[in-house]
Symmetry: C2
């Protein structure tokens, strides 16, 4: 549906009508028109104003129907009670995109929500792409298209730059525009999505993914409505080589009402967003400054091609600082070859030559050290990226020009390299460096941190999407209603989750027969829909000898009948007694935004005390599952900590992936799934779900014990 | 000694001589003189230059002796081989402070180190306070005292501001000056300490602590030499009400050679610095931007008086962002009273009124909402601090002046409140706000984060120093040589560490007698200097019945004699078998900078897998010990996680404090001390050191097992 309804009419129209355009260019209804005129929009521009012949010097039209020819895009700034009428006029005229500033819709309550639903319906029925309502509009400076009243354009049009920006808050989006401008990044296309009656942040990302002049996409997100649409848009941006950087607010909002399952209670919505961004390859920025600096690092015309970084400095302290930042950012300060280190020492006897390369203030006496260093690091040592600390030299009367000459020449000589300076320069000098393809950061830590983000972005763009295993052919449909433990395990086993050889028995003879087949030492568990807390009721017996299976069965049934006479008993589940390995918790919940989300945690204190859990949107493949495992703080437990043998991590990863494929297929047919624990045994011995609980929407397990 | 040798001659002299002063004001040897002239230094200024009659228009003197009257401070920029001679001239003249730019000392190797030791000796013998060598000097803009060649002053003197700065790197310190200036903070006193032959960062902090015009002290630290001196200086700054903010680089440097004890291997030097800063009340800044912004927040003429923060905004998104930042920074967004919330809604029907208070863009139509909001929040609701997001309004033609008027009037009306804006303004407008006592931050996250740091700073300044318990009167001196487990426990018990009722026995009869006295269930442990790994050798028996103590004793001795016939046996330690509670690890190492440092960790996976440990410099009191416990990620284990009863945290805290008092007293007489585990039992039942190891410098326990 998205593919069938592109945003070109909205974001790149050839003609625009402005409802209620005012002759006063300072009023909201007049501002957009003024911006168009100042930005030099080349297409048709039609003020709709029944009370005037001209508006701001342009011919005005009494209504949309009177406008000659086609109108691609319309701006609606009329009061809410007239908005629907305007939308209908747009439909009649065959308009493709509408930007609606008007407030008074879903944000004000039930009445507004109803009105918003009507305009959404009109948009969907007609194929109109609607931005808003209750938004600050958008701009595409590449063509001077400015359907916005954002104060950002008040002082005139800004150059069309390489950054695209999509924001759910118009006011905060304007603030980000101002921050970007002050940082020296020009935003080419900007869109505020307001109430998102139709067009969402994801649509903006998709449009920008296909915009050839956009190098990176920055987003401000409060809440995504459709996770799939968002995921598809980010995938599209990856396909076209555009990093997506997102700031998502609301990390402190505690998740909604307490959820039924253990899994849900561990997942704050923010943790799911965080996992989703990681999985989709979205760089999450924590603060506005982070967002702007990462966007800056990603719009230098190229991205770093690997994690190897050369750090050059004239201050030892800055070198140490940048080394700290590199380690934190996962960059590799590969040491220079012995030969190159000797060369550096030849130039400057007291230099540090390993990496960071500290050429000291000696450069002031011998500026040729600059060219030689750049050639050594980019040439001989072949570093794909460099950050060089030159403090205030970039603005000092003595050094500014020689430094610029050396740096810009090196940038031109090695055009495929990523070259950034940490330096303080005048805005003019900063623009000169940027034009030469060199980024400037005042703070050396910030420089390295931002480059690390650009490295991650490049790695994501260069990795093919991870494969997702196919859905097993013979997957049984998930039954509805109460699912007993042994049934849950049978279902999960069909999905590829390893379970033990277990038998449900209903008399002592069956118990003895089952015991013979299963092994020497057994576990007996009562199976009853009415007994959720088996252990407390004496419904679990561990380490039972096979020979005593029959008598143990009888003893258990007698005990349970005494304690819970009214409970319906399905039977007793007999399974082999296993030990050794590490207990994991796997859980699945249906996230309202992203659909089924798989949680992984280490059992025991890791989950209960440390909340050491991680999430992924289903479905995902084995490699993604390995990443998930790698995110656990206690992962060393699986790798063989404390003298234990390493666990079968491969089987754990495979299990996670298979569970994710299964739940993605069953979406909507379950409420939550918990495998607690999954015992991951020593390497080569696999894993087994020792307990499993599937809740379905039609019946949710209660916590009430059946009283005797 | 510091007290006896104040820095006033160095940092606030009445007369200054400059060795080797050049007539060329662009050369290093001429620059400082130029800066003095430009800064309008009112004291005596004496260029020492044997080849000229005047230097830069001032009368020159052939040598220091020829200068009439007293010289408080001398600047030495002569080559290293002449530095000692110049120092001696200073001694002869009675100079009180020397700033030595000259390089070629300890930083170049053994020869330079020897030369540096000589000048250090001269300084100490004569009482001269020496800044450097190999430094960029210092400045005190309050009196135009500029013994520095930092390029920061190249464009003329800067106003004397409220920030003091002490830096171990001259080049990076200059960068920080430039960053501070661009941020709108003027640095009144700046000192680069170079090789720290005499004057260290701590001395600078002490001086600034007593400088009445300094509001906050920012430091750049690579390595502190004398932890005690640093601690005393920070304490002095606390006494005089000055926050100390420090950036310490080198977090990624892995600690030196592998250390003998478990404790030492867990302590990276950086973790100790981190703990020391926390304990001393130093705000640690991670990045230069952090340092500058926290310094900015702490130099607004007042500090926030509590954690309660009012957040006001015209953008919902910015409000959520600031709420996130408040939670992360530990600030409390107390909701407004119902009555006040109603009032806000009266002004703006669609406002958010709880806190954050989102007055929306409605303020553009009714600017009176500003005054009303400020009165409501500072007045009626009595918030001690507010951050208000006004995006680009502070620079918009329409709103800039009305906004400034409202804000500055509110600041004047509530002069004891902390008032900050997140807004984008011209530098001129920013200066106007600052003059009105209002800080400006472009990034709302940064605003809240920096205010949170200012809140922490204020809390530290307002808390009296934590009491440290007295040293027990009857503390036995720590014996040297090998200390057996039971001896180690006896020593620690004397220091106040709880131990069990244990007996060392040397025959079966003694074992039986001991068992009677101790209890029903016992632990037997072999005590031998030659058997470090007791369990592997069969030297530990758990859960022995009291009645079987004699036979167990014999069995153990027989077994050990078979397996380690050459081992010297001290006997068998009999102790009660205890269970329940949480095992902690306490360790002490001698840190080269801070002296004895106490480590605390939770036993088991917490230490081994998660390295969940925390440190404090000894000695410290019970409250500090509680803070230490509170820093453990797994602290919930002590509070009664997983259905366990809460542990006796009070006794744990007391034990930590007593251990710290003991080790502070024994400094130098031990290499490391490990109590592993200390069993902390359920509340009311205390704790007990179940094993203890004290290593002394004269004999360090080896790991070699005695072969049979």
């Amino acid at each position: 549906m998205t593919a069938a309804r592109p945003l070109s009419s909205l974001l790149a129209p050839r003609s625009v009508a402005i409802f209620g355009a005012s002759n006063d260019p300072t009023r909201i209804s007049g501002r957009s028109l003024r911006y168009y005129r100042e930005a030099g929009f080349k297409g048709g521009l039609y003020p709709i104003n029944p009370t005037r012949d001209t508006v701001q010097g342009l011919q005005a039209f009494p209504d949309l129907a009177s406008v000659p020819g086609t109108v691609d895009c319309a701006v609606i700034a009329v009061p809410a009670n007239l908005a629907i009428q305007s939308m209908e006029a747009c439909v009649a005229k065959g308009v493709g995109g509408v930007v609606m500033f008007t407030a008074g819709f879903a944000e004000i309550g039930a009445e507004g929500r109803a009105m918003q639903e009507r305009i959404t319906q009109i948009a969907q029925d007609s194929g109109i792409r609607l931005c808003g309502p209750n938004c600050l509009g958008l701009f595409n400076m590449r063509i001077g298209h400015t359907p916005t009243f954002s104060s950002f354009l008040e002082e005139g049009p800004t150059p069309a730059g390489p950054l695209g920006m999509v924001t759910q808050s118009g006011a905060f989006g304007t603030h980000l525009l101002a921050l970007a401008q002050r940082r020296g990044i020009q935003v080419g296309v900007w869109m505020s999505t307001g109430n998102e009656a139709d067009v969402a942040v994801a649509d903006g990302i998709s449009f920008l993914a296909d915009d050839p002049d956009t190098q990176a996409i920055a987003c401000y997100v409060e809440a995504i409505k459709d996770g799939k649409l968002f995921a598809d848009a980010v995938a599209r941006a990856r396909d076209t080589g555009k990093p997506v950087i997102a700031m998502k607010v609301g990390s402190s909002t505690v998740g909604a009402a307490a959820a039924a399952s253990h899994t849900a209670s561990l997942a704050g919505a923010d943790a799911v967003y965080d996992a989703a961004f990681r999985q989709l390859g979205v760089e999450r920025a924590k603060t506005p400054e982070d967002l702007i600096n990462i966007a800056y690092a990603c719009t230098r015309g190229r991205l770093p091609s690997s994690r190897r970084l050369a750090v050059m400095t004239m201050s030892g302290g800055a070198g140490v600082l940048m080394a700290d930042a590199s380690e934190e950012g996962g960059l590799e300060l590969t040491p220079l070859s012995e030969e190159s280190q000797k060369e550096v020492i030849d130039w400057v006897p007291f230099a540090a030559a390993r990496n960071p390369v500290d050429v000291t203030a000696q450069v002031l006496n011998d500026p040729s050290i600059l060219d030689k260093s750049f050639d050594l690091l980019f040439g001989k040592e072949n570093f794909p990226a460099m950050v060089a600390f030159f403090t205030t030299w970039a603005s000092s009367p003595q050094m500014a020009e020689p430094l610029f000459k050396s740096v810009s020449e090196a940038a031109a000589k090695y055009p495929d390299r990523y070259f950034a300076l940490s330096a303080i320069a005048t805005p003019e000098m900063q623009r000169r460096y940027e034009a030469a393809g060199v980024g400037l950061f005042e703070d050396p830590w910030r420089a390295v941190e931002s480059i690390a983000a650009a490295v991650r972005a490049a790695e994501r763009l260069n990795s093919p999407p991870l494969p997702i295993p196919p859905v097993p052919a013979e997957l049984p449909p998930l039954p509805q209603g109460r699912i007993a433990e042994h049934e849950a395990k049978r279902i999960l086993a069909a999905a590829g989750i390893p379970i033990l050889d277990e038998r449900l028995v209903t008399d002592a003879g069956q118990a003895e027969a089952a015991a013979k087949a299963i092994g020497d030492r057994l576990v007996l568990k009562i199976v009853s829909p009415d007994i959720p807390h088996k252990t407390e009721m004496g419904g679990v017996m561990l380490n039972v000898q096979a020979a005593e299976a029959g008598s143990a069965y009888n003893a258990m049934i007698t005990r349970i009948k005494e304690r819970a006479p009214r409970a319906h008993l399905d039977g007793v589940l007999i399974s082999p007694m296993v030990s050794g390995g590490v207990e994991m918790i796997l859980g699945v919940q249906n996230d309202p935004v992203f659909g089924p989300v798989v949680m992984l945690g280490l059992g025991g204190i890791f989950v209960e005390v440390l909340r050491d859990v991680t999430f992924r949107i289903a479905p995902f493949g084995i490699e993604e599952a390995h990443r998930m495992i790698g995110e656990l703080r206690g992962r060393a437990m699986l790798e063989g900590a404390r003298g234990q043998p390493p666990c079968d991590i491969d089987v754990l990863a495979e299990t996670l992936s298979k569970l994710s494929v299964f739940v993605a297929e069953q979406k909507g047919r379950f409420t939550s799934i918990d495998i607690n624990p999954l015992l991951v045994r020593p390497k080569g011995q696999g894993a087994a779900a020792l307990d499993a609980l599937i809740l379905t929407p039609s019946e949710v397990a209660g916590d009430d014990e059946v009283a005797p």
